[in-house]
């Protein structure tokens, strides 16, 4: 263990209290199993998700900045956000507050009005759950802790489009060996391979899932998801590993819808990477919230000896 991210502030965000609850549960369980501590932000607010920027991007910046200021007040210099949308928004706020005078002014004005500290860029680092595990435990640390190897499990690692985009808000990425790649992200691949999984080559790991229009334009989302699913199957995957609650829920919902509306049944399972890692660390499927998923992967889990 490097100790770098041994204890971090935790920003679950709204999705992890709703449809992504299994991700919340499994992230906390994995942290505990790995000896990492997360402390949830007190009185956190929504980051603005995908909606507030459509009303006013600077308001969105403020909403994320407020969460960062809470982390600072709690004495943390790192906040971990497992949700791609939250992670993206906090990183974007950090970027804008360091460069855009208007964003700084709006943030200062709204913070003053709300009666809390004005967050200043550079005080708190935002990391993803993948960064958290990769940099604090690393592959070697995971190998040492695996009690129930994922050996024999073929995994397509799906990152979605928000984890690496836009590139300029992730200055720590694309820095060569050891850093994450925006073109071909690999942290999830590295972590699950260390847990024994066989990663398949998956050419759509950063492709759009149609997440924002999962309900408003269901047909397009279903077609996009069906292509993600059939491609994963064609690549030989038993399971698609996810690290974004929006992508995960979209894949699950539209897998069902593709069968109902388009008559296309796919068998590939969908699990959060934290669920797979948790089971590899010896946690029960229930402990990592497999029963909370829409996608029923219990047969696969039993078949692979993970239950």
């Amino acid at each position: 263990m490097t100790g770098k991210y041994e204890k971090v502030a935790y920003y679950p965000g709204c999705a992890l209290e709703g449809t992504g609850h299994a991700y919340n549960r499994s992230t906390k369980a994995v942290g505990e199993a790995l000896g990492l501590e997360v402390v949830e932000l007190k009185n956190w607010n929504c980051c603005g998700a995908m909606e507030v920027k459509n009303v006013d991007p600077k308001l969105q910046t403020y909403l994320s900045a407020r969460n960062l200021s809470i982390a600072q007040d709690m004495g943390f210099d790192t906040v971990m956000a497992p949700c791609n949308g939250c992670y993206h928004n906090l990183k974007k706020a950090e970027y804008d507050l360091a460069r855009d005078a208007d964003s700084k002014e709006v943030n200062a004005r709204l913070s003053s009005k709300a009666g809390h500290r004005t967050y200043e860029a550079g005080k708190v680092e935002t990391i993803h759950a993948l960064d958290w595990i990769k940099h604090s435990i690393g592959e070697e640390g995971i190998r040492e802790r695996v009690r129930n190897s994922l050996s024999g499990l073929k995994v397509a690692n799906y990152y979605g489009c928000m984890y690496t985009r836009p590139r300029h808000i992730f200055p720590e990425k694309d820095k060569g060996p050891g850093s994450e790649s925006t073109a071909k992200p690999h942290f999830m691949d590295d972590i699950l391979e260390a847990a024994g999984a066989e990663n398949v080559e998956y050419p759509l790991k950063t492709a759009c899932c149609g997440g924002a229009h999962a309900l408003s334009d269901s047909d397009t989302s279903t077609k996009l998801v069906l292509n993600l699913l059939t491609t994963a199957e064609a690549c030989g995957a038993d399971v698609i590993a996810t690290e974004c609650p929006t992508c995960h829920t979209g894949l699950e919902m539209h897998q069902v819808r593709a069968e109902k509306v388009l008559g296309r049944k796919t068998k590939v399972k969908i699990l959060y990477f934290t669920q797979l890692l948790g089971m590899a660390l010896g946690l029960s499927p229930r402990k990592v919230g497999v029963h909370e998923n829409f996608s029923d992967s219990r047969d696969l889990i039993r078949e692979k000896g993970l239950a």
């Binding site: 995908m50 459509n54 924002a212 397009t220 996009l224 292509n227 491609t231 929006t246």
Partner: protein, 156 residues
């Protein structure tokens, strides 16, 4: 364009990728080089559809030697949400290059199939954006959804 596919509609591209995916391995291996170029051309046709639909003249330039990447950059100018398919375009180029470099037959067929799947995703993504153009932008990082609709409501 790499090949003469400028007239392909989005549905044609999807149909063609489906045909490639259904083709026998021997045929894919045998025709891999030609299929790699055809799929790259089909991807270019998809982006040209997007540009033309937005009243633009598709560039005849190239980035890193590939018109597809130049067309993508043109499509994303002033429309950051279009960057959601940036890596998809680069993946298409990557697979085209691997097909051209690969000598082993089963691997060539597998690569062609992967390339077809990625081209199909690009076609579905851009097709979806075009379909919803009347409603607003499509993707997560988009500008205001249904902006015109919202403005009309406010005016009323």
């Amino acid at each position: 364009m790499t090949t003469a596919h400028a007239s392909l509609a989005i549905d044609d591209v999807i149909g063609r990728t489906d045909a490639v995916l259904a083709a026998p391995e021997t045929a894919l291996s045998r025709d891999a080089d030609a299929l790699a170029e055809e799929l790259l051309g089909a991807a270019e046709a998809v982006l040209m559809r997007w540009l033309i639909a937005h009243g633009q003249v598709p560039t005849d330039g190239a980035i890193e030697g590939f018109p597809l990447l130049a067309l993508h950059r043109q499509g994303a100018r002033g429309d950051p949400s279009f960057n959601a398919c940036r890596e998809t375009c680069r993946e298409i180029v990557y697979h085209r290059n691997l097909i051209r470099l690969e000598a082993a037959e089963p691997e060539r067929a597998r690569r062609v199939r992967l390339a077809a799947m990625v081209v199909r995703h690009l076609a579905l993504f851009v097709g979806g954006k075009l379909e919803t153009a009347g409603l607003g932008e499509f993707c997560c990082s988009s500008r205001p959804l249904r902006q015109s609709e919202y403005s009309e409501t406010r005016t009323v």
